[in-house]
Amino acid sequence: MKNRLLKPLIEKLNPEPQFNEQSNALDIEQKEQDISNDLDKNLATFTSIFSVPKNMDVKVREFTIHSINKRAFIFFISTMVDITNIQESIVEPLLEAEQPSEKIPDIVSYPIETTVTNIGEITEFITSGGTILFVEGDSQCYAFQTTKIRGRGIEKSDNEVIVKGAKEAFNEKVIDNISLIRKKIKNENLIFEAQLITKRSKDSVFLAYEKDLVNDELLQTIKDKLSSLDVDRIIDLSILEQYLEERPRSLFPTILYTERPDRAASFIEEGHIVLLMENSPGSLILPATFWALFHSPEDHYLRTPYGNFIRILRVIALFVAVLTSSFYIAITNFHVGMIPPDLLMAMAGTRERVPFPSIIEVLMMEIAFELIREAGLRVPSPIGPTIGIVGALILGQAAVQANVISPIVIIVIALTGLSSFIISDVSMNFAIRISRFLFILVAGFLGVYAVIALFTAALFYLVSLKSFGTSYFAPMTPHFFSSKDLIIRHVPMKERFRPGYLKPKDMVKQRKG
């Protein structure tokens, strides 16, 4: 009802801005046409589209194919192609062919990609690293997939560090990423489906899923969501993530971003859908629940007791990171009776000379800690560790000696800071760090009561979050059939089912016996 009343008003107050734009109708019209039979005309068209002499890396090579006695030229962007490959398997065979009546596909040893006629398609092909061969008198041209884009090799995962298990991480080349997943799932049902999502820079997303597992309805929803995007460009998966999320302003993430192919593969095998994109050293996993964001791949690689040990540690860390500072404030300000008398005396003694109320102390140190953390991330790596030492040791020690902070606050902050590192997912980590500040503020207002009030409200909020129709705490509540891999995981032999909230086509992943 609010929307019905307010929307027209808001629209009236904020009209869509009008711009005096130059029309590109001619360009668009040109791209919709087909190429002509005339070689010179084609040459002129493409040199003008790519502004050839000015554009230093776009190359045109003209020559004559003696065997059929026709002129021809190839067109490519030299920084995106494999030049030796073009030389050896396209140009040389064409120049050296001797049999008179051969057709082009018979001469060129390069696996022919396609023949194309549309100018728009050809430009798209060239910009993605293809090579085009035009032959005199031919109404079509030959397109070769010669892409060789420079990029980082496959390296170790930086942000999801584990001790045991595969180390390789995704890189910026989507081809490499796909092959990394293919390497882990050797199954013909694994599908990588490309979908174009942006208009101007033609970014495409690759949906990876197993045809015989994934829920078709879920797949269709994701495809619809992707095709409903109307943007000029999306540069990276992390930005796509924000476009896809149901509540982009929410503190809590609802899509899992991982840079580990083994993790992506294991989610695909559960029936999730994974998105990959060129230029993004990671993958998106949809739908994601709280548990997916909370677990780490290490949990599964370690033996069951060890894996559960670090899980329980992480649960404790989660609560410590969120609640310790606020409980410190609440207890010292409102419920002093809880502290054993000796400790209380000691605390009161050290606080004697500190002029600030404890909430100011805690906030100061929390912000200082966040500063140290961000600074440590951003400085060049040789200085990184120094920042930690300077920040944590010197700043902390000096602050205590200068009577700005009481020593117990240092303990509290160090504890929360340390705990917040244990949550490995970047987004979840932020959610926890930010919500900590909210808890500190309410604790200063009304002690434990307000903290719990906020906690309850937060729980209500969290259970109402949805990731592509999946509740945040599924399969715990609402309950779904699953292998119960939530807080505690079982031995792998007992994890026999795929998560029921995905409604996969095949629920059982391992039969009994």
């Binding site: 009802m1 829920n215 309805e217 879920l218 929803t221 207890i331 409102f334 419920h335 009776g337 809880m338 054993p340 008398p341 009304l446 002690g447 434990v448 009561y449 307000a450 719990i452 009030a453 906690f455 309850t456 409200a457 729980l459 209500f460 909020y461 259970v463 109402s464 592509f468 129709g469 999946t470 509740s471 705490f473 599924a474 715990m476 509540t477 609402p478 309950h479 779904f480 909230y501 409604k503």
Partner: protein, 369 residues
């Protein structure tokens, strides 16, 4: 996309029921029971449960005839439009006053025990704001939160009870009949209100996964809760003995009294955390039920919009008693006297109406076909 039907599973429903009814052991109910029947107070929950079993059984039987219809639709169907409307309104008014005075009781507890210098209205308003927010999220989400919390709530309750037994004396239960068997029976009938929420839960039938699951869940929660309240009262009697009469909120006195060894003398905050959380969930569910009733009576489809306004009204009604003691001694007893017997009477009347109308026979014919 609505991949899963937004239904309340049996786990969630049982959790709500245990949190809503079981929480009664932790407020002033045990104290009022003790003031009425002294040492026999622990029998009352079981006795009342036994008495309430009959109307509840009949009610569930009646409702099972009408698949996926809630209490109010059935009332209006069986009793006609006008009488049905009045009965529904009566139920709504009773439960509105119940939620107002109950929430005020909780505010009193929080204020008396933990925040003696904070104004009542701030504590009360915070309680209502959180509950209104939760209730607006809908019953499925209330159920989810209850399910997430129920284990810790029950665990902390038992921990508190076990710690309380350290300094208690089992012989305090004698004389076992308290003021006499007749008196116990009389109070037992009056205290049917202990389980009045189960009557209201039948409003949730359309939101449950199935009618069968609802019935199963009701019985599980009913049996569990009556035992839990009874055990709580028993332990309080053993712990406080004759001073119980002067203890308004025994659970909170008990958790203040107990200690974890000699190093942690005051552990009440740990129990307080769990208790206050259950209180939030309890009133959230209660508020949702009331909004549901209101929406049904006045045919408002988007009744969830009403929740904030209803919460404000309940906050205002709850603020009427000036002193904390008034709530326990004057306002709540009225509701406690009326609600249980009235709800039982309605349940029996509904069953009779269905019987007279011959709906049971039709139901049987339907089944046999």
């Amino acid at each position: 996309m609505n991949q899963q039907p937004a239904k309340l599973g049996i786990r969630e429903y049982v959790s709500i029921a245990i949190l809503m009814v079981g929480a009664k052991a932790s407020e002033d109910t045990p104290a009022t029971l003790y003031n009425q029947v002294q040492n026999a107070a622990w029998m009352i929950p079981i006795l009342s449960a036994g008495l309430f079993f009959i109307p509840l059984f009949l009610l569930l039987k009646t409702l099972s005839l009408y698949e996926n219809k809630n209490l109010f639709s059935v009332i209006q169907k069986l009793l006609g439009r006008y009488i049905g409307f009045i009965v529904c309104l009566l139920i709504f008014v009773i439960s509105s006053f119940a939620i107002s005075f109950d929430s005020r009781t909780y505010t009193n507890i929080i204020r008396t025990f933990y925040f003696p210098t904070t104004p009542n209205i701030i504590i009360y308003a915070l309680l209502m704001v959180v509950c209104a927010y939760g209730a607006k999220k809908g019953i499925q989400h209330i159920g989810s939160v209850s399910y997430l919390m129920i284990f810790y709530f029950v665990l902390s309750l038992y921990l508190a009870l076990i710690l309380s037994t350290q300094d208690s004396n089992i012989y305090s239960i004698f004389p076992i009949w308290g003021p006499g068997k007749l008196e116990v029976l009389k109070v037992g009938t009056q205290r049917l209100t202990l389980f009045a929420e189960f009557f209201l839960f039948t409003l949730l039938i359309p939101y449950c996964a199935s009618n069968k699951e609802f019935r199963k869940g009701t019985w599980i929660a009913f049996v569990y809760v009556s035992i839990q309240i009874s055990v709580c009262v028993l332990i309080f009697i053993c712990m406080f003995d004759v001073t119980f009469g002067g203890t308004a909120f025994p659970f909170h006195t008990a958790i203040r009294y107990v200690s974890l060894g000699s190093y942690l003398p005051n552990v009440e905050i740990i129990f307080f955390v769990m208790w206050i959380m259950s209180a939030f969930i309890r009133f959230t569910a209660f508020l949702y039920l009331n909004a549901l009733m209101f929406g049904h009576i006045f045919k408002i489809k988007d009744f969830e919009i009403l929740i904030p306004s209803l919460a404000t009204i309940y906050l205002l009604i709850g603020s009427i008693p000036e002193a904390a003691i008034d709530v326990s001694l004057e306002f709540k007893p009225i509701i406690a006297m009326i609600a249980g017997p009235a709800f039982s009477a309605i349940a029996i009347i509904l069953w009779l109406a269905a019987l007279l109308k011959g709906d049971f026979k039709h139901g049987k014919n339907r089944n046999s076909m």
